[in-house]
């Protein structure tokens, strides 16, 4: 890790898989901001003479059970689906990364409390917790995403902590400590830049995970206001008309898969070109010292677990 990360990052961008992924994510971002205005027709307008129609010149992807244009709904849904994921990952980042860095630097009490909280939160199944939270404080996107963000935070915590731990024992950090540098200064100058690629990979992976969680929740009707389209909500309404349109769920499903797949591809590219071991599974490199063992697991030499989690 002595070389600068700019080189490997540029190499990551040069990979073909990264280019394709960036194009897809760019399109998703554009649709996210402008989807509703770019859409060829009103995503809520009902064309009652054209219910459950197949693809045609007027409706490129056909119409749904109320005669609404599927392409327009898909485009309009992009923003709503993606913003939720971004919210959840932001919450998780803000909770997990500082705590992960802090657990390495701020002594044993902080570390112990943070570890116990992480063990506890890891046990909660995401979706049911999000359902419970929205059932109590109201069924809105912000509430649902807060819940998902809290439950994703431990993954940020673990990864950041493991990455930072490796560098706190470095000699240049010891030297800085001996020279009287403050903990905050050491984190900013020495540790953060080394932890950054790991955090970037985790952010990409957890964004994919959050997108899947958001889609699952909107499939259940959580965190959305009904007439407004979401990818998960489109899947849910397609489910009722499989006999007429068995191919219909493939459209929103493909949107979810392409977005999540692009995020994962970028995570893989950064990891492979920077040589960091966030996810050595299936790629050989193992670091038995950074074992995030199951709560209460016996000490088996386990390679770091893959932080790619489904809801």
């Amino acid at each position: 890790m002595t070389r600068k990360t700019a080189g490997p990052l540029r190499r990551a961008v040069r990979l073909r898989s990264t280019k394709i992924a960036l194009v897809i994510l760019g399109a998703v971002a554009v649709l996210g901001f402008l989807g509703g205005t770019l859409a060829p027709s009103d995503p809520l307008a009902q064309d009652t003479s054209n219910l459950l129609a197949g693809p045609s010149g007027a409706h490129w992807l056909g119409t749904d059970y109320l005669g609404r244009d599927v392409l327009s709904r898909l485009m309009d849904a992009t923003g709503r689906s993606v913003v939720g994921a971004v919210e959840a990952v932001t919450v998780a980042f803000l909770l997990g990364v500082p705590a992960g860095l802090g657990s390495v630097v701020f002594g044993r009490v902080f570390e112990w409390v943070a570890q116990r909280l992480v063990d506890a939160v890891m046990t909660l199944p995401y979706i049911i917790f999000a359902i419970a939270v929205t059932g109590i404080i109201g069924n809105g996107r912000d509430q649902a995403m807060l819940a998902i963000g809290v439950l994703l935070a431990p993954l940020f915590f673990r990864v950041t902590r493991a990455a930072a731990l490796a560098f706190t024992r470095a000699q240049y950090v010891e030297v800085a400590e001996l020279l009287g540098a403050s903990r905050g200064w050491i984190i900013r100058t020495h540790i953060w830049s080394k932890v950054l690629p790991t955090v970037a990979v985790t952010t990409a992976q957890l964004s994919a995970a959050a997108l899947l969680a958001v889609s699952s929740l909107s499939f259940l009707g959580i965190g959305v206001k009904p007439p407004a389209p979401t990818w998960g909500g489109m899947l849910s309404s397609d489910l009722g008309f499989l006999a007429q349109q068995p191919w219909a769920p493939a459209i929103p499903a493909l949107a979810i898969m392409l977005t999540a797949g692009s995020l994962n591809a970028i995570a893989d590219a950064i990891r492979d070109t920077t040589g960091i071991a966030v996810d050595p599974i299936g790629r050989g490199a193992t670091r038995p010292d950074a074992v995030p063992a199951l709560p209460g697991a016996p000490a088996v030499a386990v390679p770091e677990q893959e932080e790619r989690i489904h809801a």
């Binding site: 199944p125 917790f129 109590i136 769920p249 709560p295 209460g296 697991a297 000490a299 088996v300 677990q305």
Partner: protein, 346 residues
């Protein structure tokens, strides 16, 4: 279970002194430590999450009684209902009274139906448990098989195909896999029902017809993770010196792979399986909606849409309990099955 015997060369001294009747005692001991740590994680998480949900309920200005009784309720009606459910007491008193009852198996009553929450949960729970068991079995069989196959053909086409399949699967939420399965096996080739449920105790054959599609959908993720992890660790183990030693001693390839390498490689894979079980249980909530199953997820979802807090609490506690029990079982199995962990235990 014949592969459980360990060659004396591997077993540390002193183990031979153990009475041969120690298999049962072995499981007991295998449970003791994971039980302690499962409780040390499980108890705080139950306390924390239930208190959070209680506090959230109290901090929001929604009044359950007013919501339940509707617009025609008089203030006296609301007071009466608040008193009936103990909502007129301070938050901490309410919480600890709920907790005390929960410890005896009484999770309170629904605000809306006034049915005991415990009864609704015991009705729904078998759906989740039976389907979870089936999907974990499927995950172990399919994931284990693919992982072992990939490791043995390391670098070959089968290996690459498995790796690609596992990456592709990571981008599909289980309920989307479920919808795909419904399209394939209920619409295109209508051989299986698209939704519904028959209890296992009523008719195991019918149960399997209803349970197989959701179980496959839920197992896909865990199977992919398992295959990938098992492949990596098995490839690593097969390069180890003791494998060369076993080969030199003239043991058959099958004995070497299944009797030695696999037992050491299984540890990380089992740990990963332990991680994927909470996700599997969480994903089942969504699969229940896709397959129209009368499980805990449907119970919780219906309760959440009405703000029926006792039912939400009960479902949450039951789910956490399920996760803690699964982790306990996986950890006990880990200690029991993997030689490495056993050595560390002594």
């Amino acid at each position: 279970m014949t592969t459980l015997e360990i060659s004396p060369a591997v077993e540390p001294a002193g183990a031979a002194a153990e009475p041969p009747a120690g298999r049962r005692a072995g499981w007991g001991r295998a449970f003791a430590r994971p039980l302690r740590s499962a409780l040390s994680v499980g108890i705080p998480v139950v306390l924390l999450s239930t208190f959070i949900t209680y506090a959230m309920g109290a901090l929001t200005d929604t009044n359950p009684a007013a919501q339940v009784l509707g617009e025609t309720a008089t203030p006296a009606d609301i007071d009466r209902m608040n008193h009936y459910f103990g909502l007129d007491r301070p938050l901490l008193v309410q919480y600890f009274s709920w907790l005390g009852h929960a410890l005896t198996g009484d999770l309170g009553r629904s605000y809306f139906t006034t049915l005991p929450v415990t009864d609704s949960i015991t009705q729904a729970l078998p759906v989740n448990v039976s389907i979870a068991v089936l999907s974990v079995l499927l995950a172990v069989l399919v994931g284990g098989g693919l992982g072992i196959g990939a490791a043995l053909s390391s670098g070959g086409w089968f290996d690459r195909a498995v790796t690609m399949l596992c990456s592709a699967v990571a981008t599909v939420p289980p309920f989307v896999v479920g919808i795909g399965l419904i399209v394939l096996f209920s619409v295109t080739v209508p051989i299986l029902p698209s939704g519904g449920y028959v209890p296992f105790t009523e008719d195991p054959g019918q149960w399997l017809r209803f349970a197989i599609l959701p179980s496959i959908a839920l197992s896909v993720d865990a199977a992919a993770g398992l295959a990938r992890q098992l492949r990596t660790s098995l490839v690593g183990e097969l390069r180890a010196n003791y494998i060369t030693g076993a080969d030199v001693r003239g043991l058959t390839r099958r004995r070497v792979v299944f009797g030695h390498a696999l037992r050491n490689a299984a540890g990380p894979a089992l740990t990963l399986l332990g991680y994927s079980i909470p996700q599997l249980i969480g994903a089942m909530v969504v699969a229940e909606a896709a397959f129209n199953l009368p499980g805990l997820g449907k119970l919780g979802l219906d309760a959440a849409s009405k703000g029926d807090i006792p039912v939400i609490q009960g479902v949450l506690v039951t789910m956490i309990g399920l996760v803690v029990v699964c982790n306990l079982l996986v950890n006990a199995a880990l200690l029991r099955l993997t030689p490495h962990a056993k050595r560390q235990e002594r």
